[in-house]
Amino acid sequence: MPLFVKVRSFLRNLFLSRRVEVDLDEEVRSHLEMLIEENIRAGMSPKEAQRAARIELGGIEQVKAQVREERIGNWLHSVLSDCRYGVRQLRKNPGFTAVAILSLALGIGANTVIFSLIDTLMLRRLPVRNPGELVELLHKYPGEPHSNGFSLQTYQLMRQRNDVFSGLLAAAYQSLHVRGEGLEPQIVNSGLVEGSFFSTLGLNPTIGRLIGPDDDHAGQPSPVAVLSWTFWKGRFNLDPSILGKEIIVDGVTVTIVGVTPRNFSGLQVEASQDLWLPLAMEPVIIPSGPGRRWVALVGRLKPGVSMEQARAEMAVLYESTLDEDARTTGNPYIRKFKFEMEPAGAGLSFLREDFAKPLLALMAIVGLLLLIACANVASMLLARGAAREHEMAVRATLGAGRFRLVRQVLTESLLLSVAGSLLGIVLAYLGSGLLVRIILAARRVGPPLEFHVHTDAGVVLFTTAVTLLTALLFGLLPALRALRPVVAPSLRQASGSSETGSRRFFGKCLVAAQVALSLVLLSAAMQFIRHLSNLEDLDLGFQRDQLLLVSLDPQHSGLEGEQLSRAYRELLAPLEAIPGVRSVSLCGATPISGAGANRAVTVAGYEPKPGEIRNVAENWVAPKYFETLGTPLLAGRDFDLRDQGRPRVAIINQTMARYYFADRSPIGRTVSFDGDDQRYEIIGVVGDSKLYDIREPNHRIIYFNMFQEPSPCSRFVLRTNIGPATVTPQVLQTVHSVLKTVAVKRVTTMADQVDETIVPERLIALLSGWFGTLGAVLAAIGLYGLLAYTVARRINEIGIRIALGATRGNVTRMVLRDALGTVCAGLAIGVPIAFWGKRFAASLIADLPVASAAPILFGSVGMIALALLAAYVPARRAACVDPMVALRYE
């Protein structure tokens, strides 16, 4: 078997190289001796015989070298020896190596983290047939995030009437309670899907069958269930006999008929479904569910139909369903919904809408950071190349080919970047967990999301490509310098003054590039940070700090209606008595929690225009609510406990007062609502405050006295004099002692609640701030390295200058001028790029403050300050040169 022989030889050459070498040496020597014997036999004298034999052989070492070159795996051998040599070189300069590997690790790690997030949220394909054909159907109410929740009626209309989809999938997602034989009772994320769901996706069962159209007859659905592979493995240990087994889902018995493919966990990126049921089972399982049922829609485009075509047709279709909805519900504002369509090949994501653009901006930022790291390492390699010129010259003289030398230098670059990327992957692993935690802190109504960054082939490919590209980027310039014929002069001048102008120029260019890129990063970071602090300082219409929010859950307390109302009223006084608590109130929906309600209003004496949106936002609050939140009472009076049992009263905000009453006083006027026979008298006007989101325009808001209602709301708000966290234990203790049976649902602060809504902004400000600082520090290290190297090289010249009468000040100024020149050149390049970058960032992040040039100015000043700092040590060293020592040095 020749192949076997080849592999054996390859392995032998690789692992038994010493034995192979000894063998070869012996063979050649025995050959030489046989030649000598032959010559002696032919009649030569021993001396002559030896000479002739040596001539015929042509040198033992040369023969051996020729054999080595023919060996299988010779290339690997030489690569390995390059690597060994490279490692030895790197170990000889631990300082340089550590700085280089660390800066590459930070650059590559940052890129890996951001890319893996982008990959998870946007790039990864769903494991279904032709995922590129899938689109997500969405609608959007102005000022709100888009949503994929359509009514069943809308779904059926769209499915029947469209010509653009080969299939339109509907699914409802629920957390269901599951129990059964050999199964611990548990809450399972489930998907209720219509009959064509699995076949349209092109999925085949692992075992059994999947849900089909026959299972999904409205009115008489099959009580069947399909499990995910993960659930099958985790709960049933891949036991195939589960087919036909019964489990109980929210009290309804269903039969397991199959298991989904191994890698399929649903269409959503941030949630996985473990249980699938026919959609027609929904009314059976959740009989008390909402009257209107909502489904998430995904369409599969017919071959040849473009996104634009489909979007246009579906938009028209959707409008027609809106008209119908608006007519049946009598809500004209329904017409304001707009249809949207997005590619769904990468799955459905709750986070994509908010985080896609910030992540792209961050990708650009980490790309720049990596460029800075590359320039930094390149400039260090360049300086080191000067120190190694002598070594290179010796190797070239001894017969090393030019390309062999280039390969050696490139091997060292590759070693650095591989070491950097290994460390970078570790950093990326740690960092991605942190980023996921930050991202998941974002406020969302609905079940909590889970979201893992898996390292898949795409990420590995990306990191590998980045690593190679990095090595090439920073290694090519120094490698090409090894190509130059430097032999003669370098050998003659063993060390020191063979400084070339071009090398210094290159070094300066690299430092200037780092300064330019750092400026771009720093100014972008400052812009993002300013954006964040603008949001944090935004006037919300209430005081967000020192406000504790405590939600109670009276469901299983045995208290309800008037009893509960009285219990809550009795709780107010003891809570207020806690030291550090200033005032306490209650409300239905706390601001910026995302929750809220609205109703169509009729204002006495106000005639609405046809088609006008009559809805106003509403909230139920207890007395002292406005005082507690810090919203000013502009006119009239606050609610009172004595309002109880009297005619209904309401307080409106300024926007509503202006809208309906212009400059007349609203006090004493009455309002009523559709579907509510109560009339409410307006008794006060309060300042505007944000309700759902901190960036929204002011809504018309009306407040009711919750103690006039049949049952109270359970959200306590407490204004404190000290940090809310310090009074929390006492507050909870008081709640428990007064309301023994009422559970505490959630404790948070208003500041945290507001923070949850600006997570994308915080993420980008935090990371860009980090990366900007990092870039600037790298640039400073680069500048320091260049100056230190230049000063060391020019020590002789500086010595002469000082000997000729230059003062220390002159010398210091000379070095500083050098540094400033380089930095200013970098800034000159960086400022236009920073201006362009600002516009680019503004295209990605809404409301970014772009008008001001302050970030660029601050960035420039910052870079100059850093440069002077970096130049200080080399400048001092130059100034301290002793002319006698310097001159004797040569």
């Binding site: 078997m1 020749p2 022989v5 080849k6 063979e27 050959h31 046989m34 030649l35 023969v63 054999v67």
Partner: protein, 110 residues
Amino acid sequence: MKSKPTTLLQGTLDLLILKSLVAGEMHGLGISRRIQQITGGTFVVKPGSLFPALHRMEEEGWISSFWGESENNRRAKYYRLTKAGRKQLEVETKRWGRISWAIAEALEAS
């Protein structure tokens, strides 16, 4: 008069080594002398070409080696043909036949 040694054509050396080993196992010097002999002194294979070729062919699996005693009781490395080597010799012989025929044709053409 001794004819002047010619430089070896690419691939010819392999053929000659394989051919000379048909007679039996041999050490490097033996192979070298054998080639000299069977080509009437036209080809003199220097160790600088011989050893790389031998090692390459051994790695290809055409020949195998072992340490043995030379005629003068000296330790020497011997080579012998393997089964794959015999097959290779056939292939090389055919190839060489084609080449020499083609060259002869070319030279005869006017």
